[in-house]
C-alpha cells in the first residue's frame, strides 16, 4: 500500500505535477465518476483518494501527500447542507479554514492547497476545477513550496 502511495504522489517534473485529491464518497466522487462516464476530458495529473466524508479527511493526509511528493492537494466534499452524514462537511469546513491558515503561516504556498464543493451532478465543475488547479500548479515555480518536501 505504501508502495502505491509513493507511486501515486510521484511527480515526474514541472510539466506533469502530481495532484492528490481527497474526495468524499457521496458527492465529489460521484461527480468525478459522472465526468468519467460522460467521457469528459480533463488533466490526468490528479489521483483521487476516496473517503467516506470530507469530515474524515485528516489534515495529516495533506501533509502526508506533500511529504510523498505531491505538488498540489485538493480536498472536496458535498455542498453545505448536502452531507450524507448531515454535518460532516460543516465540521470539515471549520477545520480547514483554520488548518489552511496554519499551513500558510508556516510557509506553505496556499496556491497548492485547494478546496471545493462538488456534487454528484457536477461533473462539469469537477473537470473545470481540476483543469484550473493543474494549470495553477504548473504556473508555480517549482520548489517555491512547502516545508514537508524531502
Amino acid at each position: 500500500m505504501e508502495d502505491k502511495k509513493e507511486e501515486l504522489a510521484k511527480t515526474s517534473g514541472d510539466n506533469d505535477p502530481r495532484i492528490i485529491a481527497f474526495v468524499c464518497n457521496w458527492c465529489t466522487y460521484s461527480g468525478a465518476d459522472l465526468a468519467g462516464t460522460s467521457r469528459m476530458k480533463y488533466a490526468d495529473n490528479v489521483r483521487v483518494i476516496k473517503l467516506p466524508c470530507s469530515g474524515r479527511i485528516d489534515p495529516m493526509f495533506i501533509v502526508e501527500a506533500f511529504k510523498k511528493g505531491a505538488k498540489g492537494v485538493l480536498i472536496s466534499g458535498c455542498h453545505p447542507g448536502d452531507c450524507h452524514y448531515i454535518s460532516g462537511n460543516y465540521h470539515s469546513r471549520r477545520k480547514y479554514a483554520i488548518f489552511r491558515n496554519l499551513l500558510g503561516f508556516l510557509g506553505v504556498d496556499l496556491n497548492r492547497v485547494e478546496f471545493s464543493w462538488v456534487s454528484a451532478s457536477e461533473g462539469n465543475k469537477w473537470v473545470h476545477i481540476i483543469n484550473e488547479f493543474t494549470d495553477k500548479i504548473k504556473s508555480l515555480k517549482n520548489g517555491s513550496n512547502d516545508i514537508f518536501k524531502k
Binding site: 469546513r93 471549520r94 479554514a97 464543493w117
Partner: protein
C-alpha cells in the same frame, strides 16, 4: 507579599483540615529567590510552604492530567488568571469536574520572564514580563472559589512594545520567506516533546507521535519530522490553547511556539468569534459549526 502568602496558607489549611480537598497544588520558593516551583501539600501542617509572587510562572493546571495527581480525588489548586482558563477548557472537555476542584484564584498583574529572572531581574515592567501578560484580559481568574487580591501594581504600558508583533511581521511575508524563517526555527527542535508535556491541555493518553501503525510523524530529527511535529502540535491545540505560554517557556531550544499558537487563536477569533477558556459552558469551537461559516476559500 507576606499578606498574600498568609491568606493562601489560611485557605489551604482550612480546606485540608475540613477534608474538602486532599491535595493542594501551589507554589513555593525554588532554586533561587527569582524562581518558584510547584508544591504539593497534603497535610495542614505543611501549608507554610505555600507562597505566590511575580515569579510564579508555572501553569499548575498541567498537573491535573497526571494519573498520580488524579488519584487524590478532590484537589485545591492555586491559579493565576491565565492558568484558570486552562481549567475552563479541561472542564469544557470533561477532563476535570468542577465539584472536584477548589480554585484558589490569585489576581496577577504579570509574571517576570524566567530567562530574565534567572539573570536576577525582579522588576515588574513591560520589558520584563511575558507577552501574554501585556495583553492579558483576565487578571482576575474567571472562576474561583477563593480570591486573593494582587500585590503588584498594574504594569504601565508605554505603547512601544506590541505583544506578538512578530505574528504580523510573519503575516506580511511571502511564503518563501516564512518557509525560511520556520525551517530555521524548526531545525533547532530536539523533539524532547517538552512542549507537549508542559501543556495543560495536551492530555491524550497516547500522543499522535507515539502512534506507529501507521507512523504519521517521522521520528527523525530532520526537517520533515520536526516540521510535522510542530505543525500537528499547534493544530491539535487550535481553538483550545489558552495562551499560557508554558510550551514556549519549557522549550530548551527557544522555538517561538507562541507565535504559532497566537496565530491560531487570532484566526479562530477572526473567523468564528471564539476565544478559548473564557466560558466553561461554551461548546468547543471545533465541536460545533454554523451554516454561515467562512466559506470564501472553498470553490
Amino acid at each position: 507579599m507576606a499578606n498574600i502568602d498568609e491568606k493562601l496558607q489560611k485557605i489551604a489549611r482550612d480546606l485540608l483540615e475540613s477534608k474538602e480537598v486532599s491535595l493542594i497544588i501551589g507554589y513555593t520558593g525554588g532554586s533561587h529567590p527569582q524562581r518558584m516551583r510547584p508544591v504539593f501539600i497534603t497535610k495542614p501542617e505543611d501549608v507554610g510552604r505555600l507562597s505566590f509572587n511575580r515569579h510564579s510562572v508555572q501553569d499548575l493546571a498541567v498537573f491535573l492530567k497526571k494519573q498520580e495527581v488524579k488519584k487524590f480525588g478532590r484537589i485545591g489548586i492555586v491559579v493565576k488568571g491565565c492558568d484558570e482558563k486552562a481549567l475552563n477548557v479541561l472542564m469544557q472537555e470533561y477532563q476535570v469536574s468542577r465539584e472536584n476542584i477548589k480554585i484558589i484564584g490569585v489576581e496577577c498583574n504579570g509574571v517576570i520572564r524566567q530567562d530574565l529572572a534567572d539573570k536576577g531581574e525582579t522588576d515588574l515592567s513591560e520589558n520584563t514580563v511575558y507577552d501574554k501578560c501585556l495583553m492579558c484580559g483576565e487578571h482576575t481568574p474567571i472562576l474561583h472559589d477563593y480570591l486573593i487580591e494582587c500585590a503588584d501594581p498594574q504594569i504601565s504600558m508605554s505603547g512601544d512594545i506590541k505583544p506578538f508583533a512578530k505574528i504580523e511581521e510573519l503575516d506580511s511575508m511571502s511564503s518563501e520567506e516564512k518557509d525560511v524563517f520556520w525551517e530555521k526555527e524548526f531545525d533547532k527542535c530536539i523533539k524532547c516533546y517538552a512542549c507537549r508535556q508542559a501543556c495543560p491541555l495536551c492530555y491524550c493518553s497516547r500522543c499522535i507521535v507515539e502512534k506507529n501503525v501507521p507512523q504519521w510523524i517521522d521520528t527523525n530529527f530532520g526537517k520533515i519530522g520536526n516540521a510535522q511535529w510542530n505543525l500537528i502540535r499547534a493544530y491539535h491545540l487550535a481553538g483550545r490553547c489558552i495562551g499560557c505560554g508554558e510550551c514556549e517557556r519549557a522549550c530548551p531550544v527557544n522555538i517561538p511556539l507562541m507565535l504559532i499558537n497566537g496565530k491560531m487563536a487570532r484566526s479562530i477569533h477572526d473567523l468564528f468569534g471564539y476565544k478559548s477558556g473564557l466560558d466553561v459552558d461554551a461548546k468547543p469551537v471545533f465541536g460545533v459549526f454554523s451554516e454561515s461559516d467562512f466559506n470564501d476559500f472553498i470553490k
